[in-house]
């Protein structure tokens, strides 16, 4: 096994692995964006004065954070089927990942919300802003800027968590790696290569996150 051969094979795997990487990336993107809005919603619920709603939000976060992503994914894939509403794998994966990261993001955002002075909300009320306007125009922009490092690290965790969607037949990076490994009979190099693709994605994300933080830090 010579080095040029290995390099040629790795280049040969590239088109399929890139396809898988695209699936991984768009699933992650959908999950992070939907999870953000769901996370805000869960935070609003948990901060509400209604005990039932607050209790529901707390239980939701506890169950999601206390159970593996894989188990949640199996629930979102097989339970709808059992109830007569079969979902395609990609759909279950997007829903499962979004609902999972929503719990984590609600915790991250919660810390940011708590750091905003009450006075700002009261000022918003004096200016006749509705509660919703104050949330989206005054609180959220500040909360996102404050919690950006944690949100970026959650985004990286989501990319890594997507690897388990290969189990429900979504052709993400991991699944493509499995397919290539079983065709080529070269599991070591294929799986190592797939891992390198993940490493490239997470490293780029973390570099981009750091650049964004610096820009925000300069502006404030």
């Amino acid at each position: 096994m010579s080095a040029p051969d290995l390099l040629a094979r790795c280049l040969g795997y590239a088109p399929q692995l890139l396809d898988g990487a695209v699936t991984t990336l768009y699933l992650s993107l959908i999950a992070v964006v939907c999870g953000f809005f769901a996370g805000v919603f869960i935070h609003v619920l948990s901060a509400s004065h209604n005990r039932l709603l607050a209790g529901f939000a707390r239980t939701y976060v506890s169950v999601i954070r206390g159970t593996p992503m894989l188990a949640q994914l199996l629930v979102f894939y097989y339970v709808p089927t059992a109830l007569g509403l079969p979902l395609p794998g990609v759909m279950s994966a997007a829903i499962g990942l979004s609902l999972n990261t929503a719990a984590y993001q609600s915790q991250i955002l919660g810390a940011g919300f708590r750091s905003i002075p009450r006075g700002q909300i009261e000022a918003a009320q004096t200016f006749n802003l509705t509660r919703r306007q104050a949330l989206w125009h005054i609180e959220i922009p500040q909360v996102v800027a404050l919690t950006l490092p944690a949100l970026v690290s959650e985004m990286i965790d989501v990319v890594k968590a997507t690897a388990v969607v290969s189990v429900i037949a979504v052709t993400d990076l991991m699944r493509v790696g499995q397919q290539l490994a079983s065709v080529s009979y070269r599991p070591l190099e294929v799986y190592t290569l797939a891992a390198c693709y993940y490493l490239a994605i997470t490293t780029l994300l973390s570099l981009a996150g750091r650049a964004l933080e610096r820009r925000i830090a300069r502006r404030t």
Binding site: S62, A71, A82, V159, T162, V164, M174, P187, L188, Y191
Partner: protein, 216 residues
Amino acid sequence: MESLLSLAPRFGKAMLVTLALGLSSALLGALCGFVLNALRLRFTRWLSRPYRAYIWLVRGMPYLSQMVIVYFGLPVLGLTLSAVQATVVSLAFYSAAYFAEIFRAGWASIPPSQLDAARAFGIGRAAAFRTIELPQALVFSIPLLANQTILVIKESAVASIITVPELTMTASEVVSSTYTYIAPYAMLIVCYWLLTQFIALTARRVMKLIAPLEDA
């Protein structure tokens, strides 16, 4: 409800498998992480770059991809592990990076002036490590260690892919033999939740036990 109860013995056994798998991997990972951090402190000059590279590699890849490299990839190099061995080895290798970072934070939480004071009293570096830094760093780390143990237990679900008979595998087996979905998967979620709550509760107990000692 009846089907849930009839599933209880099987899930109870699987829960123990998951707990044993998670705890032994976490223990091994914590030991490796501890040694790694101690070596990094002792040989900062030579080891800080390789240490950072290891952390970057392990934390930049999903656990699943590391597990398949160990289970399916290493036999190519002549190292064949059973599914359980591959899980424990890969999970320890993976979590050691996170544990090492926890211990690093624990040691960073100690003011450097304490070491200066120790030196002034003629306490050697090794003795200072053992009697001054270690107890404080460990107390600082307990909540983080418990949290990481929970993460390890959750990652161990992935071992079902290589047919380790733990909780997730058991649920899938029950599903495919009974064609019921809701009861086994509900059971699966409840079992994992109980396990992780148990770890979190234990950590809180330990913290409470230690709190009065710290003030003294």
